[in-house]
Symmetry: D2
Subunit: 182 residues, 4 copies
Amino acid sequence: MVWSQTITISPVARTDLADKPFPLCYRRGMTASTDMPNGFDAENQHWISVRVYYEDTDFTGLVYHANYLKYFERGRSDFLRDAGVDHQSLLNRPDPAAFTILKAEIDFKQAAHVDDLLRVRTRFIGTRGARILFDQTVLRGDTVIAQAQITALTIHADGRARRPIAEIVEQLQPLIYQISAE
Amino acid sequence: MVWSQTITISPVARTDLADKPFPLCYRRGMTASTDMPNGFDAENQHWISVRVYYEDTDFTGLVYHANYLKYFERGRSDFLRDAGVDHQSLLNRPDPAAFTILKAEIDFKQAAHVDDLLRVRTRFIGTRGARILFDQTVLRGDTVIAQAQITALTIHADGRARRPIAEIVEQLQPLIYQISAE
Amino acid sequence: MVWSQTITISPVARTDLADKPFPLCYRRGMTASTDMPNGFDAENQHWISVRVYYEDTDFTGLVYHANYLKYFERGRSDFLRDAGVDHQSLLNRPDPAAFTILKAEIDFKQAAHVDDLLRVRTRFIGTRGARILFDQTVLRGDTVIAQAQITALTIHADGRARRPIAEIVEQLQPLIYQISAE
Amino acid sequence: MVWSQTITISPVARTDLADKPFPLCYRRGMTASTDMPNGFDAENQHWISVRVYYEDTDFTGLVYHANYLKYFERGRSDFLRDAGVDHQSLLNRPDPAAFTILKAEIDFKQAAHVDDLLRVRTRFIGTRGARILFDQTVLRGDTVIAQAQITALTIHADGRARRPIAEIVEQLQPLIYQISAE
């Protein structure tokens, strides 16, 4: 049985999570994102938690590579939401807007597996003309699972590219990633 | 522009979330699941939060119907995890096990849209022979978005059906949904 | 460039492909759907081929259950296209329209695996008021893999339900599944 | 029967398809991939057709960016299958093997929409140590929709990287893309 061999893949993966205290207010509740804070840290890095479910894996037992792009997109969406910019309000503008992706460079460093609790770290690098640049990482504990440089673009409702919306750029400006001691 | 018309679909949808206080410990953090508790309530109903992202929608502007099955699966996985049963430990048994779905009946009641913060409510109905029965609902606030009866089955590592594992049934027994005043 | 003709999507545009001889230089081509006919049979059953790829499977090694809903949707879309009704022309109407799903009942009978070449059989049952009824099956050879009753609904561009469009119902009427000797 | 070679994948399962006569009465069939040849051209470029369905789009009305990685994967899988290397037989080796992705660089050039009939062109560039290199393009007619450099890796059943399997490299060697007059 090929498949039965794959079950040994990640025995030690999540020991770092093992002694995280559960929120007291709930009988149980070790699910996903309740135990690690989502949002910005002091260096303007934005964090969310992502649990790996059945849907995310493929027959090799690992997370299917294309799904990391979904994790990165969730990270950017929540970055924007936490910065006060959500997709619905962009759609409700007199000049409706949305985002599209122009370029993605992804390095897949380590495998992830079902049940893994991953973290998506989003660094907003800034705008270059019409381009909006992000540097993003998926981690499990301190282990880098995947890393990506993503170039986004603002589009009109009919799909045509447009320059980033001025007030949004202004809103995001203070959230540009501050390279510190790293 | 066909598309631009779809933007008016859900103007008032999430006003109920608007005045939810953000956790104090974080500068921002209205993202997903930080603000509503995940886990079991007093009636053994299990709850998780699901944010709707780009990946979940289709060109009609609504959540793509098949993706509700993913939300339901996340609900069942977290129900199991919070009951002490996770997929990795099932895979690591001497007789590795996993789940498969035998039957799904889904009613799509209302549309959901990008940015929506949905809740998945999972009620474990019990086992009938080899079958494991769930009653699940996706809600946005008090509005039922989709409802499903799901019949799951335990499988061996080679995909063959097997009876539910005794100690797991025992573990889940106290979590059978208690129909109360409803 | 044989395929350069396909860039015009409309139904008329591709009738002229029917008798295009394949370039002689094509040395192999056992891939998927080239070898089994897609379209209607004598009983108005509509058939398409679906290859199982990495993306369709999960860590159990089997096709992930929600993905059968995708296969069924491909079947309905191609049924409609072959009946002369495609989504783009529905979107381009003065009163833009699309479809949504109201109800889905799915029985998962057998597992499917990566590389499997499946067939989706779509039977159009007819309309019941605003409801459009389909009976669909995924097969591998003569083996039934999954079976579904799907109830669809026509929607306006803003997501509101509407009655089926009269000329489309008329177009589909002759394609109602004829229960024969079966 | 060109594809009859692929039916040996899961021994018993689909042999009964081999001598199934096609229904004579197939009246329509302009769906997807029946009308354009899949396989290798004279320059060792491999081609498949991909139809855009509901599942592939997002609320902007365009194909969701991560789904292009799925299209590219289908292209590579069919490239391998047409070269005589399928995933099932790799899994059935005494030393079971599969592929994982190490690096992906994708440029999104143009948007694609529901109903579009796209073509995936796969060029096998060769191996560099353990790395297997592909250059892939999604086109609609002559228009480049997306372009990718993909680096794959052979893995053991437990997810560890391994060198490409010698006989597979040998099998693929003659299929390295021949840069011609282009």
